[in-house]
């Protein structure tokens, strides 16, 4: 029996923590702790149960490679809400952003193929591998359903001299290299759209200087501020300024006119045979067992073809283009061929020249940092602070306590699940700092499930599931 009386045999100090932190508790306090222990174990049973055999029985993760608030995020969250209703389990959106889409697509492709991870893939999946940024390509996914295709469009300020696409092309041909454009980062879909348009018209791809600005919002801001002359992005992204008369749309790179801008001709109508735009669609990693993939596929197809989704897409201004796996696969193959050609022409490379190379900024910083270090060491200012602890090698075990605990969590959480890994970490730490074992057990058993409940269930953070249904 641990901890029933207050005169416990004192253990040898481990790591220098001398006494039980709460050993002075009265026996009445102990009684309370025992009761809490019973309650928390009971709660564990309530929270932890509910393992069903049929698929899906756990929350599903929907990876969105772009940040919250963007178009892809909005579509993802709408689909997640509808999917969780039809599948009967929570569908949580995770924004795995960064790396121009590399991070999210990579995570989606290498995810455990158990059917619990979906990816909202975007057109960048077709582009990134041709640019040598990742090895992940559409071949690493099993396409489920296409949701949306948005065409590129060209915008100028309404006080600019260009009334039609032909006006703009004339200026570009007369003074190549004078005009500046943006819409997104260098090498992105909108940049490729502009480069392809210029090439199609027999102009060099660098006849317009591309200013690499991340995202259409900041690019629109830059257009208004006069920093760039034209913008290429999708029509819904610019609809606010378009409705307010601040912008003029010169052409849409689509097969047909955009419903939000019925007066604006397509590029084809304006005499330029060029069509390009982005797509979004849901995918599974390769290797998901067919009976699970079938459940997901059926639910996803039903969702993207539902009236609720169509209505959402209409009010949000996104073009609704749906299609099953076969149509989606076909689209991926076509896009991959288009981008292979564009990236092979080196047209993008030619305009990708930046005034300062990628290592320029780190080099300057490294130089300044080295200078400061020399200055500080020279003046003897980098000494230990007067109030800092004097540590010797004997203190190393105590120093390593937190790193070892966190490393334990990182190594075990994927396989054992969050609850077990966190319990191990917390209980271990509490015991090492000599908290009374009973107190430590109660704190751990109350807190870990509470944190799990809060983050995973209430807030939709996909904490790892492990064995024992946790």
């Amino acid at each position: 029996m641990i901890g029933c009386s207050s005169d416990l045999p004192r253990h040898e100090p481990a790591c220098g923590f001398r006494t039980y932190a709460m050993s002075t508790r009265s026996s009445r306090g102990r009684g309370l702790l025992w009761r809490l222990l019973v309650v928390s174990v009971g709660l564990l049973g309530v929270v932890g149960c509910g393992s069903r055999s049929e698929f899906p029985s756990q929350p599903i993760v929907l990876i969105c490679p772009w940040s919250p608030g963007g178009g892809t995020d909005r579509v993802s969250r709408q689909l997640a809400t509808q999917l969780s209703q039809s599948l009967g389990v929570p569908v949580n959106v995770v924004n795995a952003t960064g790396g121009g889409g590399v991070t999210g697509h990579t995570r989606g492709a290498v995810a455990r193929a158990d059917g619990y991870t979906l990816t909202m893939a975007t057109v960048e999946l077709n582009m990134l591998h041709w640019r040598g940024l990742t090895k992940i390509s559409p071949d690493d996914f099993e396409p489920l359903a296409l949701c949306n295709r948005d065409a590129a469009a060209v915008f100028v300020r309404s006080d600019s001299p260009w009334q039609t696409l032909a006006d703009l092309e004339a200026t570009i041909a007369r003074e190549p290299g004078r005009l500046r454009a943006s819409g997104s980062a260098r090498g992105s879909i909108w940049h490729v759209a502009v480069a392809g348009w210029l090439l199609e018209q027999g102009l060099p791809a660098d006849a317009i200087a591309w200013v690499s600005i991340n995202g259409s919002g900041p690019s629109l801001q830059e257009l208004l501020a006069g920093g760039v002359d034209l913008i290429c992005c999708s029509v819904p992204e610019a609809r606010g300024l378009l409705a307010g008369g601040e912008l003029r749309c010169l052409g849409v790179m689509a097969e047909s006119r955009h419903p939000l801008t019925p007066d604006v001709p397509t590029f084809r109508e304006a005499g330029c045979d060029w069509v390009l735009g982005g797509w979004r669609g849901l995918m599974l990693p390769l290797g998901v067992p067919e009976e699970r993939a079938a459940v997901i596929r059926e639910a996803v197809l039903r969702t993207v073809e539902s009236d609720a989704f169509a209505q959402f897409m209409e009010t949000a201004g996104f073009n609704l283009t749906t299609g099953g796996p076969a149509k989606f696969e076909q689209l991926l193959v076509t896009f991959d061929r288009t981008f292979k050609e564009i990236f092979a022409t080196a047209a993008i490379d030619a305009v990708s020249e930046s005034p300062i190379g990628p290592y320029g900024f780190p080099l300057i910083l490294g130089g300044i940092g080295a200078g400061l270090l020399v200055l500080l060491v020279g003046r003897g200012q980098l000494q230990l602070q007067t109030d800092a602890l004097r540590l010797t090698w004997r203190d190393l075990p105590r120093l390593l306590l937190v790193p070892v605990a966190v490393a334990f969590f990182m190594l075990t959480t994927e396989s054992l699940g969050f609850v077990i890994a966190a319990t191990g970490m917390l209980l271990g730490l509490l015991l090492v700092v000599r908290v009374h074992p009973l107190t430590a057990t109660v704190v751990t058993l109350l807190l870990v499930p509470a944190v799990y409940q809060l983050f995973a269930v209430q807030l939709g953070v996909p904490l790892p599931w492990g064995i024992l249904g946790w």
Binding site: M22, G217, A316, Q381, L426, R434
Partner: protein, 511 residues
């Protein structure tokens, strides 16, 4: 206009369901803001599916309240556990935490709450009176001006740091260098990733911040070996006995601070609004710049009473960051250009309700616009009671024995870092940053500038290279009037910095 205002007022204040929604959103916002690793953006994104069931005013009211409350609530873990809830709180994390260690947590929290409310209310009023005109200013900001603004923010972080300027500068450079890890936005080139796809996303600042401040403090405490015998510092006021006394004390601490410095609070709030509305600049830069301005303008900013000057820093920063929240809505409403991820989500919600933000909405639906303004006012007023209660609840943490609290903090650091992106890589970043923070602090290198460096390093480089491509060469950096003005201010600040960096015998005086 008055008609529209009256309609809007009836709509916002006259509906009991709006009050209920604002109350619920305030509680939710405070909660999300107070848990490290959960962000206001996440809270708002989770709320969007629910927004489909609400009418536009109610949906916007909920979002505004969540964001305004979350940014204040970030100060609670900052003060009690030294885990900054928001990057803006990193500016004064050490100041606020020092109070808690002395058993006076109610003073910084009271000041932060009252100044947050004041800043938020001021921001709402400015939004109402000058939104349209300010938006015109915001849109002349091109990449060049943003570049100088970021530089100004970084310089401010060095200026307001305690202790040696050289060390603050070193901290900043470390942060900037860390920001270069990953796929650079402007070159689209993988740097320092060693071929590992996880590193492409770079070092996210939230896990870094949790590690640098929170985990490093745990490591320090555990290393000292006294954790098991340390008793929690009895707090002078927080939950010391009767709830009412404690509430009164917190309120009094905040009111006293407001009454002592009305002009400074006004100034910090104005800086917050202006910086918040500028593209790409948010509450974090606003907090640091307003601290720097107060320090330059007021000779007695660093008074002979260190705790008074700490409180002043906290007040200035919190007033500015809450005002910045209102400011960030200006370009979103007036032009439909999202200034940050929260306003991007808001634009999505408005579109869902068939309202297209942009110049046209002011003509077609002025009562809608006024409703949003009034909701801002209501949200910030609601923050006062909800925030007060939250502070008292947070005070419970301080009664937990340190031996129990420290391992629990580790659990929260780990979960918070994981929650951001659902990635174990971020937990690793948090751990490494915890060790780095521990080592840096032993040598007296401040941590605040590291955080700002990580946040602004990427955008700074991006804007610099964009300015060079867009403006054509180095001259392009100063050939626009506002850019030239900002450049001049930066230049002046650097002169001050250079003077204190110059070789001198003996210890360098604190700047």
């Amino acid at each position: 206009m008055t008609d529209a205002l009256m309609t809007a007022a009836a709509e916002v204040f006259g509906r009991y369901d709006i009050w209920l929604i604002v109350l619920a959103a305030a509680v939710y916002g405070v909660f999300v803001g107070a848990v490290p690793g959960l962000t206001a953006t996440m809270a708002v994104a989770l709320f969007v599916p629910m927004a489909a069931w609400l009418d536009p005013v109610a949906a916007i009211a909920a979002i505004v309240t969540m964001v305004a409350c979350a940014i204040f609530a970030g100060d609670i873990p900052t003060t009690l556990l030294r885990i900054p809830g928001t990057p803006a709180s990193a500016a004064y994390a050490d100041d606020a935490y020092a109070f808690a260690q002395r058993g006076e947590a109610d003073r910084p929290l009271g000041a932060a709450l009252l100044c947050s409310v004041a800043g938020g209310v001021f921001g709402a009023v400015m939004l109402m009176l000058l939104g349209g005109q300010l938006a015109r200013v915001a849109v002349v900001f091109s990449v060049v001006e943003s570049f100088w603004l970021y530089l100004l923010g970084l310089t401010s972080a060095v200026l307001v740091s305690r202790g040696s300027t050289t060390k603050a500068l070193l901290a900043l450079v470390i942060g900037l260098l860390l920001s270069t890890v990953g796929l650079s936005a402007v070159h689209v080139d993988a740097r320092f990733t060693f071929g590992r796809p996880e590193l492409y996303q770079g070092i996210s600042f939230i896990p870094a911040m949790i590690g640098l401040f929170g985990l490093s403090e745990v490591i320090r405490n555990l290393a000292s070996g006294t954790a098991s015998t340390d008793q929690p510092k009895p707090q002078a006021a927080l939950l010391s006995g009767r709830l009412l006394t404690s509430l009164k004390n917190t309120l009094a601490a905040g009111l006293g601070q407001l009454r002592r410095r009305p002009r400074q609070t006004l100034r910090s709030s104005s800086i917050g609004v202006v910086i918040g509305m500028l593209p790409g600049a948010g509450a974090d830069i606003a907090a640091w710049i307003s601290m720097a301005v107060s320090k330059r303008l007021a000779g007695n900013y660093e008074t002979d009473q260190p705790d008074r000057s700490s409180l002043n820093r906290i007040s200035d920063a919190t007033a500015a960051n809450n005002a910045a929240v209102a400011g960030s809505w200006i370009p979103a409403l007036v032009f439909g250009i999202p200034g940050d991820s929260v306003t991007a989500i808001v634009i999505g919600v408005l579109l869902m309700k068939n309202i297209t933000p942009g110049p046209q909405v002011f003509v077609d639906q002025p009562e809608m616009v006024f409703s949003i303004y009034l909701v801002f006012l209501l949200a910030n007023l609601m923050l006062l009671p909800v925030g007060l209660l939250a502070v008292q609840l947070g005070g419970v943490l301080l009664r937990v024995p340190r031996a129990v609290l420290l391992p629990v903090i580790v659990l929260f650091c780990v979960t918070g870092a994981y929650a951001l992106n659902g990635s174990l890589f971020d937990v690793g970043v948090m751990l490494v940053m915890g060790i780095v923070g521990f080592l840096l602090e032993r040598r007296g290198v401040p941590l605040g500038p590291v955080v700002l460096g990580i946040i602004l390093g990427g955008p700074l480089e991006e804007r610099f290279i964009q300015s060079l491509t867009a403006g054509g060469g180095l001259l392009g950096l100063i050939n626009r009037p506002i850019a030239a003005g900002l450049a001049a201010v930066c230049g002046l600040l650097w002169l001050t910095l250079a003077r204190s960096l110059a070789w001198r015998r003996g210890p360098v005086p604190d700047l």
